[in-house]
Amino acid sequence: MTIRALDLATGPALALRSPDVVMRLRRMGASFPTRLSFLRSLIRRLAASSTSVRRPVWEMDDAGFGHAVYTLTLGGYDYSLVAFSCPLPDDQRSDRVIAEAWDTSYVLYDGVPDAAEIDRLRANAPRQEAGRFGPRDLVLSRANKSVRFFEHVADSLAHGRQPDRQRLGEVGYLLRTTAVYGNGKFGIADRFVLAARGGLDGPFQAEMLTVWLIREFSHDLVEHVARCRAPDTFVPLAQGLRRHIGVGNSTGLGMAPFLANHPVLLSNWVLARETALARMRAKPCLDAAALGRLADLWRQAALHLDQWSVEDDALMARILRLRGEWIEAESWIDPARLLATSFPVASLLDRSQSLSVDFQELLAALLIELAGREIDDLADGMAAAREGAFEPGMRIMVLRKLLHDHYGWAMAIAFEAPAETAQFWYVSEEKLEPRLGRRADEPGADLELPLDIARQVQRLAVDLADAPDGQSVAAFLADFPQHRHVVRRIQTTAAAPYAEIRDNLLSDRCLPIDMLRCKLAFFGASKFDPRSDRWTRITLFQGAPTAGEIAAGETDDCWLPVLP
């Protein structure tokens, strides 16, 4: 059965897709980056500010071990990436949180660090979670080398050659971050410090800036190693290839609790994207220039799909199907036909309902890309000042109605079936790594994280059944304090349509990778490369402007990178 992606009750003028469609795990797991993704916002902001990046410190030995500082000015503030590169034995190179040493480590620093501050950071940044940081430290990160590719690039450049294009296309990065910590972790500055500043006030902008500068460092580092290895034959990276080397990232289960624990923030992200799509849907016609751009973007997406291959069998099968659908559907965008079609975007979206969810979401991302600057204002509303206030004075009859109106999806889940509670989310005592367990086979379910939103809603509904309509929430919770978490959530999400993932996160069918991909797509990630159903690698900033190009603004490859 085909699910209709429109909630017709919202009317044709600005028809947002229904949360019952958008907020399902399968569809979230088909997310693509869009023009509203956070790294795109950052690039536009850096370009608008005519930002220039300086490298006042570069103290590296011939093997590429030492430290460097990159500095830029944005919104009237100086920011510096302080980077450290250290030798690392192979047996210690792990992308997991349980690692205790890394090839490189970083702090995004508020201002320009003097020698004493660099010494302080040298003593702490390489230790990451075991270090302590202060209010001038804005972001903490680390990255490991993509060992074989780093060596290939260094060796190629040292011998006067450019790296192999196919290998570059397959890997796409020299360094892979394994954590990018913000918002007060380990003593660094709290988010509200940046939220009050123009320049880095949007979601994850400081983190994205850090990663963009790490990318710059990775280019410089590999060239430095190559130059030191063979100064007479060394050649620098060709600009086109340099631009195509992004930053990798390895991501695990931590992102899933983040989405569940920030419902208003998640809703703001999705609402911005869905509003952008609805604006496009409402267009009565597209002019010739827009149709030309549509065709260009279609071809770019096709090339990107051709260059995106993964080892994961399930995703590769989906990519293959998507490639086929994309080619078949190219006839849909015939200019003569679309010029004669009223509401051509709506027509395309409606036709896509007969194809895969992957196709539908790629088409949606493309149409948002087509919108260009006219949807950029929506990026300003994607942050959330707070996650909503608790209302103890609300009457029980009102709470019941909110539950009824917004949590029908939760009430429909049959928790008496063992498969619906097969998994549990927990934090391991081992470096507090988030993990997922099988309830029937593993200990620890008594310590599970409260990601069982649907089950909490059902338990609340049972106890609400006997509560008087006119009773206050305050009086109810005095008797049932265990429901405080879900009551606050129901109150909070009433005004946040896309707040809830409308699936059961405990179910046997829940694949955490779907949540990871959703969040990473909002970051602007591409080339999703799952290593399991709960772990993925991605690439950030591939195809994006380098520091030397940033003043010119976004490149054509910012949306979906294509190897030139």
Partner: protein
Amino acid sequence: MTTILLSYNEVQSLARKTACGAGLPHGVADDIGHAAVWLSARGVDAIRIVVEALGDHACGAQAVLRDQAAVDVLCCGESRQVSLHDREHGLLLIGLAGAAATNSGLNLAARLANGNVLPLAQVSDASDLIRDLKALSLLPDDGEPFRPGSPRPAATDTAAYAAALGLAARTYVPASDFSRARGAGAGTTDND
């Protein structure tokens, strides 16, 4: 006494986990986290206050639930004031009320022994408030803006910090080879 300087996010998350580790429901623990932020922005070592209220030798979980319920009924106008029964846990009660006032915009106020009434929104240092507090009450909105707290939290006593970490650790699942190998869905080395 040695201290550690935490961020607000650390104060909030550690207070919340401490409360969970002490057996409080997640939703109540969330409010303990907000209360800790409010207190630590106003000169109070909030982690110490939470540990003293909920630590092993305290019988504070029930008192916290009672205080939270009292603040709730005060906020929704179902009671005129909350009297201070237990000076030992009084600062946490003030923190819960202060956080509720900040989040809701309500004008909750401290009634002091000398008869003065001090809106919680105007408190810049809560550390001495407990000495003179008689009760908390809800006043009409006076239109006064909230006085912001300090840019960084008050310092945390390292002994209290360690005790809080101990309580928080009760929420973590013990390590095992099986969990390490299967729970995260990734291998342990990445040398490709």
